[in-house]
Symmetry: C2
Subunit: 501 residues, 2 copies
């Protein structure tokens, strides 16, 4: 007896959700690894994660799933949600199938080797320790691009893994904008009166920093019944379901700037995860749209809101109450200005909103050339330092604070970096739209009322899951494609107020 569409769809959901169970279990193990795991637990954890990854992979590449997707694609009586889930799952399946099991195994092995080489190279502060492994990795990624296939540029095939549909043709103008429009702004800032942020480096006790960050996260609407915040060396957000979202942070008692905006940033990611539709657990419509859209959510909260003067109109008196001694001589405006201090620096993750994108642009140019074969790994440090001199005016004193600073390439994540810039640009464009859609938004923010903004983000972004690509989302929300001029305008407005440019 042929099965009904509903029966088939149920089987499809069951397989997808079992794979999600295993992947979310991996996420729990990964979270514990970064937060609480004792040091000697690392080896066992590594093999446990690897086994779970194998199990999930087996489920998601099974013949049974393939047949179900094939059959369901022919069924006209699927509802709209079902159609979208099946369409997206099939695209994923077809893409995965292009890689042979032997290639996947080789890539997994090389990733592990390459990551260890990176760790070792950082310890020795010597890129040459990393170079041979990275060369092999680049060769594999070039091979992967060929296996995936592409129309114009091999980089397109890889970047698509992180941002569906993104291509060099889209990215080049974005980064050209950065190269052309940001340097004049930076020059003006350099020439202006500098901002004082020395009070960030007074002593801010850990416990009070922690408490204030919880206050802010609660005000943002983060649901602590469906999530929590813990410490880790590197802040991150992970999710085991929309009902269980974990944020992590770190605290430096002698640098207040280290924690707070990072908490707000992760909170933005967390709100997205909490806002995904729970009834689509494990299905495409229950997952985030893309890395770029994810980053737009963290950046809109961290930068557009959390580094805005209106935000601090409400929150600064509360902060001062927590740190009366440390902030007695600091006004809300001075605090706001300090949080937006622009200064070219070596490390991407510590960069301000403006120079950050030079860091990304440099990585984008380099990895594009590596993948097209016009740059050799051995010439990478020289290229890196040349670009840093050119765009940031500084030269890394060593590999660790230069070409070895990011983990991404050791993971084989070529095409990932641009999503950081896309995120900021989407954030600026969405934020401009939010101000149109919610006319008194700034007034609300200055009263600490953030609920309508969160509702807007949920309505426009969170609830859709992966239904729309980032491009489609952007057009639906703002009526036009991604347009870097929103970011440029946002930056100009902000720094006009701060540096008088």
């Amino acid at each position: 007896m042929p099965e009904t569409t509903q029966q088939l769809y149920f089987s499809y959901c069951d397989i997808m959700q079992k794979a999600a169970d295993v992947n979310y279990a991996s996420a729990v193990l990964g979270w514990d690894q970064e937060t609480y795991m004792p040091p000697k637990g690392a080896d066992a954890r590594g093999r446990q994660l690897s086994t779970l990854a194998g199990q999930a992979h087996e489920i998601l590449t099974s013949d049974k799933l393939e047949q179900l997707l094939k059959e369901l694609s022919t069924r006209g009586d699927l509802n709209d949600i079902g159609k979208n889930n099946v369409r997206l799952s099939r695209e994923d399946f077809e893409k995965n199938k292009k890689l042979t099991p032997a290639f996947v195994e080789e890539l997994t092995k090389q990733t592990s080797e390459c990551f260890n080489a990176w760790i070792e190279a950082r310890k020795k502060n010597d890129f040459s320790v990393f170079a041979p492994s990275l060369s092999k990795m680049v060769a594999l990624k070039r091979k992967q691009a060929e296996m995936y296939g592409y129309k114009v540029h091999p980089y397109d095939a890889l970047a698509d893994d992180y941002e569906k549909g993104i291509t060099v043709a889209v990215l080049d103008p974005v980064f050209a904008g950065i190269r052309e429009q940001l340097p004049p702004i930076l020059d003006k800032i350099k020439a202006a009166v500098q901002v004082d942020d020395t009070f960030f480096y007074r002593h801010f006790p850990k416990g009070q920093q922690w408490e204030f960050s919880l206050d802010v996260l609660k005000s943002m609407g983060f649901d602590f019944e469906a999530g929590r915040q813990d410490y880790s060396e590197h802040p991150f957000t992970t999710s085991f379901a929309p009902s269980d979202v974990r944020l992590t942070t770190r605290v430096d008692e002698n640098n207040y700037a280290s924690m707070l905006w990072s908490c707000i940033h992760e909170g933005g990611h967390g709100l997205y995860e909490q806002g995904l539709p729970e009834d689509q657990y494990g299905l495409p419509l229950g997952s985030a749209a893309s890395l770029g859209i994810h980053e737009s959510q963290s950046r809109i909260w961290e930068n557009c809101i959390g580094r805005g003067l209106d935000f601090w109109k409400f929150f600064y008196p509360k902060l001062q109450a927590r740190f009366p001694e440390q902030l007695t001589d600091v006004t809300a405006e001075a605090f706001f200005k300090a949080s937006n201090k622009v200064e070219p620096s070596l490390i991407r993750t510590e960069a301000d909103e403006l120079t950050y994108h030079f860091h990304v642009m440099i990585r984008y140019e380099i990895e594009k050339q590596l993948i097209e074969g016009s740059l050799d790994v051995k010439d990478l440090p020289a290229k890196w330092n040349e670009l840093y001199r050119q765009y940031l005016g500084i030269t890394p004193p060593d590999d660790k604070s230069g070409v070895l600073q990011d983990v991404h390439w050791s993971h084989g994540s070529f095409g990932y970096f641009p999503t950081y810039t896309l995120g900021s640009f989407y954030a600026a464009q969405f934020y401009a739209q939010a101000q149109k859609d919610i006319p008194n938004l700034l007034k609300q923010v200055s009263n600490g009322e953030l609920a309508e903004l969160l509702q807007w983000l949920w309505e426009k972004v969170h609830r859709h899951g992966r239904r729309f690509t980032s491009e489609e989302l952007c057009e639906r929300i703002t009526g036009q494609k991604l347009d870097p001029s929103f970011f440029i305008r946002y930056i100009q407005d902000k720094y006009m107020g701060i540096y008088g440019i």
Copy 2:
């Protein structure tokens, strides 16, 4: 080409260790569930745990494993370790195979239903809410006993799941000893001058309790590079590998007795897990021998050591230094005596070393009768209250502090309770032997030197994993079978010093 024994053994290990990876992953999820998970995460966590359990079950019941075990059992060139692993895995496999998949599914479903009914019944403080579910559970367990098969008593088949080889024939004399020999001791204690433990209920701040417990665990030899302690509602120990062992505890600031001995107890479990051979990860020789032996490790540390006067000779001055105000008027001896106060009470988990075994004996008698069919679930509360009156001289005021207090039966764990008493009895017998083998043990303990005892436990128990059954271990260590008179003597010695009986 036929495979070599080594190749086959390697395949066997690979399967077993993959299953262990999945089961340890479940343990991580379970640990997080009890320590950090936000409340709304419960549903997703439930389904994730259920999927992982299914994955592990599939691996451990695969035809491939069965064939490997069959073939390896015929190979004469396996080394001693290999032979023992294969023998034990085959026993497990054969036992599991006796249950049909349909039965396992039914049991799993009923367990979940029964647990929820128990929660509900406790909320309503009404056994009748639990009774129908429990009746079904008892029927299933009786069926399970028939499927497993047994020689003498159906209870033997079930108890074997927790303590290999244990039978009613072994347990009856143990509990007869409790029924006959403990009441006269209890009567003497009741007639003696009572011990004062009121100072336990002074205010002991959480942080200092925590710090002291870490000091004690470190002195015991618990490796905090390979484990940690966290808070949970009910203290427990879990392990993700010998290199990652998690203890949990709870703190009551107004009852010092609530935390410390529980920490030492869990620490004893933890030391066993840390002492299992790491190179036998996922294999029988890398697992604990039985629940009874596990409990012997926690009880030897908690009671024989941690409630001994010699222990406090060393640790009491340190405790006093942490709580100078609270303990200024309390001597080491008074503290030691208070930690051993005997008083019949309603709740098993809060009982002293002596009356504890009445609680277990009562449960044993009841579940034996349920399984053999001589007691009906509807008559359970009456039976319970009658036995409590008879042996402890008290009657539970309600079901919650009576027949509904333990979770075990809702889980279908019939045959589990006796392992608590076996643990204490093994502990007393091992402890007597340790004092023979380490002549100056008490002197060492009174100097805070616990390393030689740990080394002895590792040598005699931990390093063997499941190689020996608890009975075999007991004979190897002490030269004789389990003999309850060791426990009786231990108890008499202890209370002679405290109550002068």
